[in-house]
């Protein structure tokens, strides 16, 4: 699954941040996933859990979902991404590379393909909490 590739990135980023921040143990990791990419939350959590490194110990994994909002650069119309009716093939394409949404969606207001994903695009490591030093 594609979620495993993303989980691998999350675990690598957490390990790097723990080392940079001098954390001896990570206690909580918060990941934000955007609705646009339609990442399977349960698989992502399972994959992070399976790939967790020793410094992550039994750290709590929190996955927050952000709605995908799109805004037209031509007419400023703002709307929420709705995967309904896109079809399996298109949904899968957006799942792998969210930018291909520009091949399939147009602004409902003016029909332009020149829109931006204001929020809810992909995956982001929002915070890493842990304990420092020997104590």
């Amino acid at each position: 699954m594609h979620e495993w590739a993303l989980a691998e990135g999350v675990v690598a980023a957490v390990s790097r941040i723990a080392e940079e921040q001098g954390l001896r143990r990570v206690t909580e990791v918060t990941v934000r996933i955007g609705e646009l990419q339609q990442v399977d939350r349960e698989i992502l959590i399972f994959a992070i859990d399976q790939l967790r490194t020793p410094v992550m110990g039994d750290a709590r994994i929190i996955v927050e979902e952000a709605p995908a909002r799109l805004r037209c650069r031509v007419c400023s119309h703002t709307w929420r991404f709705d995967p309904e009716g896109l079809g399996e093939e298109v949904s899968e394409a957006i799942h792998f590379v969210p930018e291909v949404v520009h091949a399939y969606l147009r602004c409902p207001g003016c029909g332009s393909p020149d829109f931006e994903v204001v929020e809810g695009r992909g995956i982001w490591l929002a915070s890493v909490k842990g304990l420092r030093g020997d104590g």
Partner: protein
Amino acid sequence: MADPRVEVIDRRLSTIDRIIAVSSGKGGVGKSVVASTLALTLARRGLEVGLLDLDFTCPTTHLILGVEDGMPEEERGLLPPRVQGLEYLSLAYYTKDRPTPLRGGDISNAIVELLSITRWGQLALLVVDMPPGIGDATLDLLRLIPQMEFLVVTTPSHIAFETVRRLLGLLGGLRRRVVGVVENMVMNPSDFVEGEVEAMGFPYLGVIPFDPELEGTLGDVEALMETSFAEAVGRIASALLDEEAEGEGD
């Protein structure tokens, strides 16, 4: 706080010995045909080769290779399909030749996404068909793949070469490895490009004469590999491999 995708790009590319970016200062110089034919030539010499089309807004390598079906497999990421003996990936698998207008930030995101989720096999070479010019995509790849080497394509046109001069200036300033400059679509041989390239201190890898038969073979790999164009690309491929061998002996 952090983009977790960037963290794994090095690991994803760690199975590849050399990454050759086929680049140009402007479009229309035959970069994609050179990249595709170079990848095919190297694969036919027994090397494990990949071809990655990063010209996102105008991908064409799938048309040159005659890709009609098949999709990347999903297995803890994306596994590039095997096409004409190459591990091959293009965004065209997902955009289906629909117009895909992307701004710089979108191109950056799509590049990071593809590099972070694609699981290449053990490859001697990955040939990358780059977007033309020195815009966002080129800058992103310079940042993300420092080991990338550049094969620069131009035509005898002074205008094409002036754009290449800027590309070479950028690469030279950043101390990136330029394996050489190829002069494509040559109808009236002249020493202008060779002289300019050598004056800048970069290797000149040779000429690919204009081949009127080439256009009719695009999409038919067997016919393409029989052209005088492919024969000339074969000489470029030999120069590329010789240069590697010489580098190893240093």
